[in-house]
Amino acid sequence: MLTLQCPYCGVMAEETELSAGGEAHLKRFGPGSTDADFETYMFMRENPKGVHFERWRHANGCGKWFHAARCTVTLEVFGTYPAQTSVPPADLLDKIRAARPGFKWREFE
């Protein structure tokens, strides 16, 4: 059972209180963008064996969207953080570097 702490209400929410929202930190390419950028935004996703950054929503709870960093192999959760950011917090990245030396996820390593 996956348990994530909601950074808004502090609840240690188990997965039946949550809904998954896919990959985190996508940059949107909308009208006016090139076909290649739009295709990448629309379809291309990381599929890591290891560290991953995701969006989750505390759906059966406070209703807020947040981010989570976890390992897709061990299901270890490195941390959660609010949605109002386009990059993971520095202290969380430090923690992941310590736990998974040499990890790389998009531009983060």
Partner: protein, 189 residues
């Protein structure tokens, strides 16, 4: 004017705890900046309480109280007969500010779960730690009970109050009643 009635007109059932639909209550969903002093003052005045609830808390009662629902959402409880007037009062006091107040009284149902083992009734159907050390009087959770969304808080040592959407009131009542049925005691807490 037609006569307003609650979802289940006060239905109740007695198991190892008592489950009752509690009739009509005035409920106002209020969204806004809880750290704004003017906002807090106006909402507290409408509910008749001294201060906004802390995170995951309920202050006051169903007759005058406020439940914490999210960082920018509160549920204000007032007598059903006064809810329209109180929404008007909020709109007047906070005119010009960024906020939202909506009367949801007829879109929600309110239940009571009472009895020495009331904790068990909810512990069986919600993914919440309801042990006495983790959940006490005034504590509130917005979560799910089995397949529906609900918010509940501990209103006394042996009682809970629960709010859900009116459209699923019958499901909630049967679910709570089944969880509280005699023979279903767990005796864990």
């Amino acid at each position: 004017m037609s006569e307003a009635i609650s979802a289940l007109a006060g239905a109740n059932t007695e198991g190892f705890a008592r489950v009752s639909e509690l009739g009509l209550h005035g409920m106002i969903t209020v969204r806004g900046n809880q750290s704004d002093a003017a906002f807090a003052k106006a909402v507290c005045a409408v509910a008749g309480v001294d201060a906004l609830p802390a995170i995951r808390k309920m202050v006051g009662t169903l007759e005058g109280g406020i439940a914490w629902m999210s960082p920018d959402e509160l549920m204000v409880f007032v007598p059903y007969s006064q809810v329209v007037e109180r929404v008007g009062q909020l709109n007047e006091t906070l005119a010009g500010q960024h906020f939202l107040a909506v009367n949801v009284s007829d879109a929600r149902a309110v239940f009571g779960i009472d009895g020495a083992a009331a904790r068990e009734v909810l512990a069986k159907i919600a993914p919440v730690d309801l042990s006495p050390e983790a959940f006490g009087v005034g504590d509130l959770r917005r979560t799910r009970i089995s397949q529906i969304a609900a918010a509940f808080w501990m209103s006394g040592e042996e009682s809970f109050r629960l709010v859900c959407f009116r459209s699923v009131a019958e499901y909630a009542f049967k679910l709570l009643g089944t969880s509280a049925a005699k023979g279903g005691e767990v005796g864990y807490f």
